[in-house]
Symmetry: C2
Subunit: 236 residues, 2 copies
């Protein structure tokens, strides 16, 4: 973690500890610089990061203000996948159904920009939240990037392993979501009735260099899935 990231986390903690609410003003730059004993450029980078994360908003000529407090019980839609920090308030576990090396489906090959005779790790698992089924997940990982997975790894946070174990840098992702009715197989895994509502999300994760490495199809238990999204600015 870089210095400005660490300072950003400390400012976030400061906001929590002081129970600051949306609209509360943060101390001015100079005060923050002294408080955390860092340069202006570092504190500026920290605040920019916190703005991107939706923790603060900056009003030109007026100051830096606290944003959010998401509602309790909501999962961040944009950081739930492998981003356990946002799930800390929940107890999440996984049960692995399948894990093997295989050839990608046409769909997976297309989304991962691979050939049909390249290898992928295929992972199918059910995730549980506070003892209830949260989702059924089918993921394809490009094996030439995600070179090794085992049952222990995929029982935990795969993304934590990708970053810390493999040292890869996760960049941007694309999500496609729609609502539909559960198939018989999905209903069985989620412990719901066939035909019950589902939230279905396909996502493609890329490294910072633009390479797609993970194509996932996730079916959520609608009774457990409340999502939260922050939008930072509306363009044009």
């Amino acid at each position: 973690m870089l210095k400005y990231q660490r300072i950003a986390m400390e400012i976030e903690k400061y906001i929590e500890n002081h129970n600051l609410q949306q609209g509360d003003k943060l101390p001015v730059l100079e005060t923050l610089m002294n408080q955390f004993n860092v340069s202006k450029s570092t504190i500026t980078k920290s605040l920019d990061l916190l703005e991107k994360k939706g923790v603060v908003f900056q009003v030109r000529g007026s100051g830096i203000f606290v944003r959010r407090h998401k509602r309790k019980g909501y999962i961040s839609l944009l950081s739930n996948q492998g981003f356990k920090k946002d799930l800390e308030e929940f107890h999440v576990t996984s049960k692995v159904i399948e894990l093997d090396v295989r050839k990608p489906t046409q769909e997976a090959a297309y989304n991962l920009n691979m050939e049909l005779d390249d290898d992928v790790y295929f992972v199918k698992r059910v995730q549980y939240i506070n003892g209830q089924t949260l989702c059924l997940e089918e993921s394809y990982y490009n094996k030439s990037i995600i070179t090794y997975l085992n049952k222990e790894i995929v029982s935990g946070s795969i993304f934590h392993y990708i970053r810390e174990g493999l040292g890869l840098k996760v960049g941007f992702s694309d999500l496609y979501l729609h609502v539909d009715k559960l198939s018989e197989e999905e209903a069985k895994f989620l412990g719901l009735q066939t035909g019950a509502p589902k939230l279905y999300i396909e996502s493609i994760f890329h490294l910072t260099n633009g390479q797609p490495f993970d194509f996932s199809k996730i079916t959520y238990n609608y009774e457990q899935s409340q999502f939260f999204v922050q939008v930072n600015n509306h363009f044009f």
Copy 2:
């Protein structure tokens, strides 16, 4: 529209016209500066905006590359509300059910940071996409900010009016979404069966100065609702 925004739109058009695909490299900065006849700082701001919009991604020391092409038929989740640009490929119309000035519900007052005896504009409408029901929308607008609405305005793009007509700057927003079953009333408005799946989104829109001005509750027709979300970077 500022110069760097205009240039950003032109670069976006350039990408479309040349049918550039994900991973294709853009010309280097100097070439873009000459091509659009602008300074380095302008072109940098334009590219930063395009990165935020998910049109390009920048790889340090390597260049600027084209991102996306969202799948056809998907609506951008983060810019669909009042952001008609993303709906241009669709034909969207509205039917106004209710429009009046009233006192906010407790929930609306809380989310808009208002008193219970302040006034809101209440708008209830059904939106149609390509002739099918898209969603049922109930919105509360803080009347001290959104000072005037009428039936003609709310039959069109309310956000277009807010920006162009009232000259307000729309800043950030918070979205809360979950999946559930349609109530009898919702089903009637959407032309679906009671109990059919629904995507339900509550959103709170703020001005750039942080004031919340719009609290909306939207129930989507699951058969018409395919959403697309781009995530730019994953933090920490």
